[in-house]
């Protein structure tokens, strides 16, 4: 298989997944709704003191984004596994790791990108400063793709199980912790007027690492799950 056909296979799978997501809008909106609702409920629950909200805002938004990503992970492979499409994708002459990367890209575009777009509004809701909101966008832009790529490994491992949801969370959450710490840490630092380069560099490193290594691990996990 040459490079051109590999790229076209990547684009075809990406377009198929986006079409499918578009036809199941209600399901796709679920994680976004969760993200917005959880964040919006915090001021109601702990009181509307701006100083307090400003202090815990970055953490709230990041935790909500992480849980929303976790909530949507299963959709990467679940329906394809159930109707047999996953077998067909696996039996395609193209490398499975590239095809899983296409599915992860589609998943991020459908679930990660909307979080990124709504985050500034939620930042305003929690009275974050302009600097903090810009940093929040940067960290989410670096962090959410990493959440999707790493999460895909866990989904690939658990997709063959009847009730894999619990195990999925336990598998994936420890790997999410560094992203959460650097992400929320950067926003807090920006809010306090401190430098954020170290946080952003580490997040970027995590993203590069996960994009380069996770697809191979995901492909191997899928082979185990389907055999």
């Amino acid at each position: 298989m040459n490079k051109a056909s590999l790229l076209s296979a990547f684009m075809i799978l990406l377009r198929r997944d986006l079409t499918l997501a578009f036809r199941r809008r209600a399901e796709v909106i679920n994680p976004l709704l969760f993200f917005v609702l959880v964040t919006a409920l915090f001021p109601l629950g702990i009181g509307a003191d701006p100083n307090q909200l400003r202090a815990i805002g970055p953490g709230i938004i990041w935790v909500a984004a992480l849980l929303a990503a976790l909530l949507s992970l299963e959709t990467i492979f679940r329906s394809d596994f159930e109707d047999g499409s996953l077998e067909q994708i696996m039996l395609s002459p193209h490398p499975l790791s590239v095809l899983t990367l296409a599915k992860v890209c589609a998943h991020w575009l459908v679930t990660g990108l909307p979080l990124l777009i709504t985050a500034p509004l939620l930042g305003l809701l929690l009275d974050l400063s302009g600097d903090a909101i810009i940093t929040l966008m940067k960290t989410l832009a670096l962090g959410t793709p990493a959440l999707s790529t790493i999460g895909a490994i866990g989904v690939a491992l658990t997709v063959g199980m009847r009730r894999g949801g619990m195990i999925l969370s336990l598998l994936v959450l420890p790997l999410y912790v560094p992203i959460l710490m650097f992400g929320a840490g950067a926003v807090s630092a920006a809010a306090a007027g401190l430098p954020i380069h170290a946080h952003l560099s580490l997040l970027a490193a995590l993203l590069v690492l996960s994009i380069s290594l996770a697809p191979a691990a995901t492909a191997a996990s899928l082979r185990i799950s389907l055999s």
């Binding site: 076209s8 198929r16 047999g84 499409s85 077998e87 039996l91 002459p93």
Partner: protein, 211 residues
């Protein structure tokens, strides 16, 4: 066939399969050449599907190996899949996509054959359903759509698991016609079926896993 290896042969060497501590089969050896049919028979649960999944490269055998032109299929990886097409129990049809979208995707993901999608759907009697979402199809029509994949991709080895499930008499005849044409072109077939397969003059190699 446009394949560059005319003498390609699928061989099983001493295959065994164990499931839940039960040995389904062991010491299985066979070779399949051009225009031959491997007909796998056996009771329910005798390992027919497992054998087909091993031949596809989805499942690892618990012993022995499968070779394609002398090369271990697990070392060939996705290169092997350019030669095979598999239709399993599950149709692999996306219910939210239309018939045409499903087939376009299948064609482009595999090694595309030189055939119009409309023409392929016409052969499977689905020409009137091009823009119908697959969830509106009957079980037999979904099966036809799955089998249409065989037409739009070029593969030397067809691996079919109960291809006649939910097909009507006409559908069965159509599929048998496709298989005969495939064999004429030098293709190979590995199949399990509870239905009596009508393939006159075909070189059939039967394997019974219950014995």
């Amino acid at each position: 066939m446009t394949d560059s290896r005319p003498g390609a042969v699928l061989e099983a060497h001493d295959l065994s399969c164990i499931r839940d501590d039960r040995t389904l089969f062991a010491g299985l050896c066979f070779g399949l050449g051009a225009s031959q049919v491997l007909l796998i028979e056996g009771r329910n649960g005798s390992g027919k599907t497992s054998l087909l999944r091993i031949l596809c490269g989805i499942r690892l055998p618990d012993g022995g190996k499968v070779t394609w032109s002398g090369e271990d299929i697990f070392k060939m990886g996705s290169g092997y899949h350019a030669y095979t097409a598999y239709i399993g129990h599950k149709d692999g049809v996306k219910l939210d996509l239309t018939v045409l979208e499903n087939l376009t995707f299948a064609k482009n993901l595999g090694s595309p054959a030189d055939i119009d999608l409309e023409q392929a759907l016409d052969e499977m009697n689905l020409a009137d359903f091009l823009d119908v979402p697959a969830y509106n199809l009957s079980a037999g029509q979904k099966r036809r759509l799955a089998l249409a994949r065989l037409l739009v991709t070029q593969s030397q080895l067809w691996i079919l698991d109960e291809p006649f499930t939910s097909l009507d008499r006409h559908g069965i005849a159509v599929v048998e016609g496709l298989v005969l044409k495939h064999l004429e072109r030098g293709g190979m077939l590995a199949v399990t079926s509870h239905h009596q397969v009508q393939l006159p003059d075909a070189d059939i190699l039967p394997i019974n896993l219950s014995q």
